[in-house]
Symmetry: C2
Subunit: 769 residues, 2 copies
């Protein structure tokens, strides 16, 4: 953890002072993205220090041949990797013949980075004295356009501080990139073509195996003292996967030479392969017309609109404010919800770790955020993503011996196929199926849009119910259906029996599917007939499902009055985390796996995750009992852990604890709690931070088509506010110590409940409670 | 399974007819070894068909960098691989300029292989018509000398069947070899030096990382019609890791040209590095003096002595006879017990699979065979191997969080360090520690040589007892000590709690260690003081051990009257293997791992393995009950499974079942039950075959320093006999339908019990019972 690294600021992420040790961490923290592409905050100019280069394009992946020690039947042949894409940001700079390299300068001062979250740009500035004695002030601004999502913009300015100098800018694009996490050091990109025309250049490359074709382009303009120079690129260097231009400017002391570089990608996901370069030329032409200043203005406008819907304000706690905005900003950089082929990778566009783009994180953590801060179509797109993968989920289940249309969604995926390869996760962490069904329920609960279920959702629910019915077996010993050999959300227990969470959500999935079949039968008869015929489902089979759901086993301890995480949990030595020596933590770095598995330590909410999803199935007293039993045994070594605990602690009125968990989730990356931010950001858990405030402190719930709140406020804060897009009206909720205000942007009265008391909120009027 | 592949014969393994599809399988089955080196039955001449080249040197290994999908703390950095060694057997042959290649001849007939187990040589003969029309008869004999264990001998004869021909022999040695199972396609050998002198050549190479230096040598003599030719090698081709000579002979129809090639290795394990070539020259000089014929005679004599001690005869069942001799022969080819640095790899010198040389197979299966058929020093060497690795076992335990000298022996090892890398095996299949303690007990029980325990064994027992005491935890729920998160001998269950076998042997290990401490204290006081000081052990710690042993938990089912394989076994669906569709087997090839794990199917004896080791702790009725409960759920997909079941079935008088299991274990490779013999032979389970006869059918046990027998005979056999080296006297036991004969080679009367009845056997006299 490093609390002094990032300067506190309400709207910006700021780093001051150059520290080569922090370059990789800052490359993660200052990453930018626009939903279609993204990149780590790598320097444009050459840098000889340690760096982790990364540019990524949404939906472009590579099936990297599986690497395992010991093969198990059913393992996927490959692990779909987020693919390091050709780089378009590179600009080599020389000053009087010496390469500008922050790792080789005589002196670097006033180094500063700023990621302006309000306006959506990243700036870096510094003064450097080169080995040749020339002193320059460098100022670079970069952004990825939200209006033109194939376009990125860089303005690179060098001002002469002393003497005069010949400054050369050598902008390049380079498809000769590799992944740091490649299993076999294979090349992922096949270079196809390199072209140039005037100030523009184009490198076309295709991924091996997946055959995504990408044209990476650049266009450059040279300015001296803000005046565009009428020059053409010199010394054009062309390789088979790279092209570099050279522009030269003379500048005297106090003068500024600048290069404006447009760059980005056009990809075969969105264009005909033969039209990629034309498409890129169109983007360039449009950018040339708008120019840097207009593009930047547009960027600010779009971000202003995003914040208009999604902002959370916190008064009196700048670190908490910065944390939540960073989380909301990064989520929006990663996924904007336009394209149902895309999803939310755990590292977004900030790193390679965890490979595939989609985990159960999307359904369990991200959908609530997107539902409440975007148009409902966005959440619908995320659901549709899984609907489109239903066939693959059925194939995946068949590989594991299931039949008759049973669907097991993958643990990790890009295109619907499983790509993870640890048996205890891939084959056994099957609770993920439950979250996918739960998200359908949650979508309807929040949006009131039932149409998704007859159109698409019910087929998914049927496949999932079938899986659970087949996966459960009857224990003649327990006289109940049991689910043997699973890994629950707590991945620190593997191959356990009757994980409470898994059994509970399995039963719920079946019950919910049966309910929806009945509802669709009565209200959407045409859909019903289509679906039943397609799924080849009949009442006899549904009876089998019901038998399993009605007789599901749940391990319970009379002694402790709690549901047990799994059958044998009580055989463990239950020693609270507080008694564990600090030197032993994090246990996932200090202990061998067997020791972790037989310990009582819980990585993230497991029984409590069930209580989070199905809160209304249990009393507050039950929640308190389970929280008191499990939380002291929880090490929170998953980024997804603190948020659920923060919400539940707040619900139980334990505000100090809730606040501590909140800080941990909201500043996980900014303060680098886990000393790993250089690998990339924890994108999906950022949605959990949002939930900590809205569902935790705000106590927001949707019950019977109505918003409920139980507002609470940490004593460290003067006030906070958030907005909810509830059924196409925007409700702003402002909570101070002692009062809550509601402000509705919409056109019809909205009834909400505050601590159980009905409140009517009129459009465009302020209500104080 | 392929029952017609190998011709039935009492003393030889014979293949007739050339089948390119079988070449790799035969390369395994006709492998030869002499304890110090071994090789697959690769052709000497070039072969363009599918082949698996393998030469191996005992104790020479390479630490191949670990390959895993997901790293876990505590995994070893490398997997020690049996190393494919430089090849010395190669002889390229051309006839009138055309390379002899069985895959490219116009015709091949009378192809025949014979592995003569009685005399210890391998012969291959065939007639071939080349594309150029020349017809030749080839006859090749090869053996690895048991008297000079650095020496191998080949006599390669070509007889002209038609016309006359120029025959060239190009013998070579080649260190440019690789392992098929290399993790990263690394080179394992660094070539150092290539030399030649007269008819001899030497290639010196060193293993990377482990720095074993090996001089591979050859010496060649050319004969025409049995007459040695006074020629020198021509066209010497020298590479950096290879050297090839060329000898030319002219032969007319009916004439024979032969090359006698001596070759082998001198290694830095046994010689100074600077003297390797001199050592090789000494071997060559001695071989030149003895010549082919004397060397072969010596070979026959040494094998005659081995058989004198170890032979088992079976009358009236040639396949059973051939099976048991093949097993005894291969065990002797693999390990002769001279060197405590060596051990018995699961594939011996016949393949690469399973990497390291030592598994718990040695203690659980092989030691009884070596104790009974060799001098007791051999078993002592095997025990000493583990004693010498005690420090590494303590380090290994420390990596997993154990302290204070607790020892966990590795699952797979070459030099005492763990080299396996699956958490559920490496970290959890800890019962292996028990077998290592049991072997110490078993050695004393059989040989009566207590001296090993105060000298070495007790230190091992203490380290193991410490491990178990620390590994067990107290369940406040069960009020007993439990052992959580293990894999038992049945590897088709992982991370289970309270595996009966593991808990039982853990308790036994502690009890036995405490007993031996007391005995050494009273009878070997000097050793006692030394050991207690070295181990820093005191009575308080021993009391802790005892508390664990006295309060160990064993899962038991009142309903079934059996100990349960693990806590949750009864939650499984208990569907007998007989009801499992044939198409689903072997389940390890047909099912995904999770499905196997949650099924009731057992890979190999688990609870029954405990009943095998501790037979006298249980009644016959208990054995029958457990056998009837577990065997029907057992798929025997481990080569170590049928033998234990054969012994127990025989003990229960179920001879038909015992015989079926016997055939399966004894002809596992000859009949290729598992369709994988091309990967190499199952060496360690071959000792289990021996046990099936001696302990199963013969019912041999040692109780209170006395041999007991319960002779039984399968109805398919007229009679069988075996020999036991019991405390330096050789007892021959011959069992016919209805009578048992004893014949003692020794000098003192031996009392044995036959079905509980005392029998006195006088030296060199026959007793019939």
């Amino acid at each position: 953890m490093n609390q002094d690294y990032i300067k506190p600021d309400n709207w910006s992420i700021i780093e001051e002072g150059f520290d080569a040790e922090r370059v990789k961490s800052s490359e993660s923290l200052f990453s930018i993205g626009n939903g279609a592409m993204g990149q780590r905050a790598n320097f444009e100019e050459s840098y000889s220090g340690a760096t982790f280069q990364g540019s990524y394009i949404a939906g472009i992946y590579y099936p990297d041949k599986t690497k395992v020690g010991w093969w198990k039947n059913g393992y996927p042949e490959y692990f779909a990797k987020v693919l390091n894409a050709p780089s378009w940001i590179g600009i080599n700079v020389t000053i009087n013949g010496e390469a500008l390299d922050l790792n080789a300068c005589k002196e670097v001062k006033n180094f500063r980075r700023e990621l302006n979250m309000k306006e959506g740009w990243y700036n870096r500035s510094f003064e450097a004295v080169l080995q040749n004695g020339t002193a320059v002030a460098v100022n670079v601004t970069r952004f990825l356009s939200l209006t033109e999502d194939e376009l990125g913009v860089i303005k690179y300015e060098v001002k002469l501080v002393n003497g005069s100098a010949t400054i050369t800018y050598s902008p390049y694009i380079d498809a000769g990139v590799t992944n740091e996490d490649a299993n076999w050091e294979e090349k992922f990109w096949e270079p196809l073509d390199v072209q140039h025309e005037g100030d523009s250049a184009f490198v076309t490359a295709r991924t091996f195996k997946t055959h995504f074709t990408v044209a990476t382009y650049m266009h450059n303009s040279l300015f001296v003292n803000e005046k565009k120079q009428d020059v053409t690129p010199q010394n054009i260097e062309i390789g088979n996967d790279k092209i570099q231009f050279c522009y030269t400017a003379e500048a005297a002391q106090g003068e500024t030479a600048a290069l404006v570089k447009f760059g980005g990608y056009t990809v075969s996901l969105n264009h005909k392969e033969s039209e990629l370069i034309d498409a890129a030329k169109n983007v360039i032409a449009s950018a040339q017309i708008k120019r840097y200043s207009t593009l930047l203005e547009e960027q600010k406008e779009v971000w202003a609109k995003i914040w208009e819907m999604a902002d959370i304000t916190i008064d009196g706690d700048v670190k908490a404010q910065q944390g939540i905005r960073f989380n909301i900003f990064q989520l929006n950089q990663t996924y904007l919800g336009k394209d149902p082929r895309l999803n939310i990778g755990p590292k977004g566009f900030t790193g390679e770790k965890y490979g595939g783009s989609t985990y159960w994180d999307t359904e369990a953590y991200c959908i609530p955020f997107y539902m409440a801060t975007k148009d409902q179509q966005v959440a619908r797109n995320l659901l549709t993503y899984r609907y489109n993968h239903l066939e693959k989920a059925i194939e995946n289940a068949a590989k594991l011996g299931f039949t008759n249309g049973a669907a097991l969604y993958p643990m990790v995926t890009m295109n619907g196929e499983e790509c993870h390869n640890e048996w205890e996760i891939t084959f056994e962490e099957i609770h993920r199926n439950g979250a996918i069904a739960f998200a359908i329920y949650n979508y309807y609960r929040f949006t009131g849009d039932y149409s998704y279920i007859p159109e698409k959702g019910l087929e998914v629910l049927i496949g999932i119910a079938r899986f659970w019915q087949q996966r459960a077996t009857f224990s003649s010993h327990k006289k109940r259906y049991v689910i043997l050999g699973v890994t629950g959300p707590n991945e620190y227990e593997n191959n356990v029996n009757n994980n409470f969470y898994t059994n509970y959500i399995a039963k719920w999935c079946i019950d919910y599917a049966i309910e929806q079949i009945a509802k669709v039968k009565s209200d959407y008869n045409e859909d019903y007939s289509r679906i039943m015929a397609k799924a080849n489902l009949n009442d006899d089979e549904i009876k089998q499902w019901k038998k399993v759901a009605d007789n599901m086993y749940f391990p319970y301890s009379e002694e402790h009055g709690v549901y047990l995480q799994q059958d044998n949990f009580l055989d463990k030595e239950l020693i609270p985390v507080s008694e564990l020596d600090r030197s032993q933590r994090p246990i996932n770095q200090k202990w061998s796996w067997d020791r972790i598995l037989r310990s009582c330590y819980i990585k993230q909410a497991d029984v409590l995750q069930g209580f989070y999803f199905f809160e209304d199935h249990f009393s507050k007293e039950q929640l308190a009992k389970h929280f008191d039993f499990y939380e002291p045994l929880t090490v929170h070594e998953s980024s997804l852990s603190p948020c659920v605990h923060s919400i539940q602690a707040a619900g139980l009125g334990r505000m100090e604890q809730a606040y501590t968990f909140y800080l941990r989730t909201s500043r996980l990356d900014l303060d680098d709690y886990n000393k790993e931010v250089e690998e990339g950001l924890h994108i999906t858990s950022m949605a959990g931070t949002w939930m900590s405030i809205v569902e935790g402190f705000g106590g927001m719930r949707v019950k019977n088509d109505t918003l409920h709140f139980e507002p609470r406020i940490p004593e460290q804060w003067q006030g906070y506010s958030f907005k909810i897009n509830f059924r196409n009206q925007i409700l702003k909720v402002s909570i101070q110590q002692g009062e809550t205000k509601f402000n509705l942007e919409g056109d019809k009265e909205l009834t909400v409940f505050v601590n159980g008391k009905e409140v009517k909120v009129q459009p465009n009027a302020l209500v104080t409670v």
